[in-house]
């Protein structure tokens, strides 16, 4: 049975980095894994997405997630969550970090950033988990680890805790940031308890 995790955000938020760590961990745990990312403009503040699909028994076919297929949608930015809501299963979950990043039409004043995004999501999905990513990251002293906090949340939600994620982080993160990322991962897991 193939599971699908969709990670979305804005260029520069670490969406692709989180999905790479997730994918490496799944491979090392013996799953068949496929990951797809649309990048190219990802460093330039555009919308970014990464599809991660894995299967315990049997092979993953398509590297992309279809509409209504994601077990979990993990979004690093409020409005981006709406862009991808179609992809979540009827009984799937959305984890959203409450960061808001104005896109160009908002910055220039032509359009207004949408209100009540979370209420909109609440109506659309069975399970909505709201995380104040920047505030949580501030607790451990670095705004750049929101992505690994969300990775921790995914691991808990998808019951992937048998994998040695600390090893994955130690092997794939720059030495100076290993401890910080380990803290972020653990923090992310605790946020999924409630």
């Amino acid at each position: 049975m193939t599971k699908s995790i969709l990670l979305v955000g804005v260029g520069g938020q670490g969406t692709i980095t989180a999905s790479k760590l997730l994918t490496i961990g799944l491979l090392e745990s013996g799953y068949d894994v496929k990951m797809n990312e649309i990048h190219g403009m990802s460093q330039r503040g555009g919308s970014v997405s990464a599809d991660v699909r894995y299967s315990e028994a049997g092979k993953v076919a398509a590297p992309v997630i279809s509409r209504g297929e994601a077990d979990i949608l993990v979004s690093f930015e409020e409005m981006e969550t709406l862009r991808w809501t179609d992809y979540v299963k009827p009984d799937g979950a959305i984890v959203v970090s409450t960061e808001r990043i104005d896109s160009m039409p908002v910055m220039t004043g032509r359009l207004d950033y949408p209100d009540n995004v979370l209420a909109e999501l609440q109506n659309a999905v069975k399970t909505l988990i709201v995380i104040d990513g920047p505030a949580e990251a501030a607790k451990i002293g670095n705004s750049k680890v929101t992505n690994v906090i969300l990775l921790g949340a995914i691991i808990r939600h998808m019951k992937l805790e048998n994998t040695d994620w600390h090893k994955i982080i130690r092997e794939n993160v720059k030495p100076a940031f290993i401890d910080l990322n380990l803290q972020a991962l653990e923090l992310g897991k605790t946020l999924m308890k409630g």
């Binding site: 520069g12 496929k34 649309i38 190219g40 555009g46 398509a62 992309v64 279809s66 509409r67 359009l111």
Partner: protein, 593 residues
């Protein structure tokens, strides 16, 4: 050993394992990471070069093959257009040691966009055998197999991939490099000089090569049947195979074609005879489908499926099974566009902000990050056709505008790498035909948009060695442009003054070179010496002075936000200190931290 590799990494690995000794490419999405990966392998094994353009890369790869070493070239989809001249010819000449050409098409136009051309049509037209891998393992295996076919049939062989294969990570079994025995170079003008005395014979041979591979196409393991339920039979290639498997699973049988030209026609007929109904599932052009119909195989394909865009599982479900994709119950009006934008600290910002203030100009743009300034807030791009086109489109526009006594002046803009790719000949045209356009070369010291590759202007090779550096200003003068000025694009008054001076020269062309490094590049020692103060400061908004006029928001910087409640601008942590917003603020409310 098993590793997760993107298709691009797997292609590079395949070329390396196959004993390739020479590789060349020009960067282009979605193919860039192939040569990037090759450049990380041991230099004693492989020479990996960034060429100034695709034509040069293809020609140098043929030269290396002629000399007797396995060679490799990769390019993006429109790269084929840039090298069409040698491309057409090399199927006639063939090669010596194995030669593989990788072309990355983009049916969904996700990141590059220029065209959605299905180059398989071109490969057929140019008479090349080609493979179409579906995932990373196949990408690696098929590159290795392509070398065998190349040496067996005396022709370069194409491996055609698409964005989803390039950028999907799937599991690959790694193997060791097998050195290829160097071949001897034998002088043979009758093979490599397609003049009329040789060319008809070369054409004869070339057509024979494709015909001769029909048997291989029938026998190769890359064209394989997968029989399950026989009510539906699917003939497919590339990533479409996995999309079909996702939707139909074992409720259909498959003829998966990995070697697509020439096609295994008899195998297709025999497969079709054993299933009730045939679907041909391939993205963009009906290459396989047309051949199937010609062979008398009754099938469905483009009568049901779109001939543009990707054939994602959602599309197959809708078009072939009548199952529409689900839609969430949300207010779609709340999903605003999020176009990519110039980075905080981008040296293009100052130039294009200043340029946006001039009236009665036509801005002939090109292919690079600056193409983003075509949109808001700058609106500084009237055209941007293909690599290097800005200067020549601008030249023709200006000549015609002058002839009809119009007042509009042309400003042609392109990056350093694009200028070196194919802008040089256009600038020669401007000088030679006595144009009066203003030409701006945005020298950000790197090929930025594709993710920071070295180029002939940066002082380094793909493999990190020091290199001769093109002196762009001296080159422009040597071409015959009399007015060449180098400026700092972050200095708005310097930009405005340079533009005014250029417009004042009514009958003469000018070149303005903006020289400032891309904020995302890895800075060389030379960069650090030349730009000692770059990106050191951060700026902030003095809240008590800010009047909320939003002038700073119109420089289009991701570091600037607006607090609606308090009607004040604020600058975030991502400020790189370019100072453009500070120069624009009418109240001088933006100051150094």
């Amino acid at each position: 050993m098993k590793r997760l590799l993107t298709g691009n990494e797997a292609i590079a690995r395949g070329a390396w394992e196959a004993g390739t000794s020479f590789a060349a490419a020009y960067p282009g999405t979605p193919s860039t990471e192939i040569l990037e990966t090759l450049s990380t392998y041991d230099k004693s094994n492989i020479i990996a070069e960034w060429a100034p353009n695709e034509k040069v890369s293809l020609e140098s790869a043929l030269g290396a093959s002629m000399a007797g070493l396995r060679s490799f070239v990769s390019m993006k989809c429109v790269g084929v257009n840039a090298c069409a001249d040698p491309f057409m010819c090399m199927s006639y000449t063939g090669c010596n040691a194995g030669m593989v050409i990788v072309v990355a098409d983009e049916p969904g136009q996700q990141s590059s966009g220029q065209t959605a051309q299905d180059n398989r049509t071109f490969f057929k037209f140019a008479r090349y055998p080609f493979f179409e891998p579906s995932d990373s393992q196949e990408a690696k295996d098929m590159v290795k197999e392509a070398y065998k076919v190349s040496e067996m049939a005396d022709t370069p062989v194409v491996v055609r991939i698409t964005t989803r294969v390039c950028h999907s990570k799937t599991i690959v079994e790694l193997e060791d490099r097998q050195e290829a025995e160097p071949r001897e170079y034998v002088k043979n003008p009758a093979k490599y000089v397609p003049v009329p005395a040789h060319s008809p014979m070369l054409l004869e041979k070339c057509m024979g090569k494709i015909d001769g591979l029909a048997e291989y196409s029938m026998a190769t393991q890359f064209n394989r049947e997968e029989m399950h339920d026989t009510k539906i039979g699917i003939i497919c290639s590339g990533v479409s195979y996995y999309y079909a498997k996702e939707v139909f699973g074992e409720n259909a049988s498959y003829l998966k074609l990995g070697f697509v030209h020439p096609l295994p026609i008899e195998k297709m007929k025999s497969f079709a005879a054993r299933v009730d109904k045939v679907y041909v599932i391939e993205e963009t052009d009906p290459i396989i489908e047309d051949a199937a119909r010609l062979a008398g195989i009754a099938c469905h394909g483009k009568d049901l499926l779109p001939n543009r865009g990707e054939l994602l599982p959602d599309i197959l479900r809708e078009k072939l099974l009548g199952i529409p994709a689900p839609a969430a119950n949300i207010d779609r009006g709340k999903v605003l566009p999020r176009p990519p934008m110039l980075c905080s600290g981008c040296p293009h910002r100052g130039l294009f902000y200043a340029l946006s203030k001039f009236k009665d100009i036509m801005i002939s743009s090109d292919i690079g990050c600056y193409t983003l300034t075509t949109g808001e807030p700058y609106h500084t791009g009237d055209a941007g056709i293909c690599m290097g086109s800005s200067i020549s489109v601008g030249h023709g526009f200006q000549k015609a505008m002058n002839k009809k006594n119009g007042s509009t002046r042309v400003v042609s803009v392109l990056g350093d790498s694009t200028f070196l790719h194919s802008g040089i000949a256009s600038l020669i045209d401007v000088a030679y035909n006595n144009s009066n356009t203003v030409n701006i070369i945005l020298d950000n010291r790197i090929t930025a948009m594709t993710g920071h590759q070295e180029n002939p202007g940066t002082g380094f090779t793909a493999q990190g060695d020091a290199a001769v550096e093109v002196d762009i200003a001296a080159m422009c003068k040597a071409i015959g442009i009399r007015h060449v000025e180098v400026i700092d694009p972050n200095d708005l008054s310097a930009v405005t003054n340079a533009l005014k001076a250029a417009f004042d020269r009514k009958d003469e062309s000018s070149v303005i070179i903006t020289r400032w490094p891309c904020v995302l590049k890895k800075f060389s020692d030379q960069d650090k010496r030349e730009f000692p103060n770059m990106f050191k400061d951060k700026y902030k908004v003095k809240s008590e002075t800010c009047v909320g006029c939003r002038a700073c928001l119109n420089v289009g910087c991701p570091a600037i936000a607006f607090n609606r409640a308090e009607k004040k601008a604020l600058i975030g942590n991502s400020c790189m200190g370019c100072t453009v917003c500070a120069q624009v603020c009418p109240k001088k409310a933006i100051v150094k931290e």
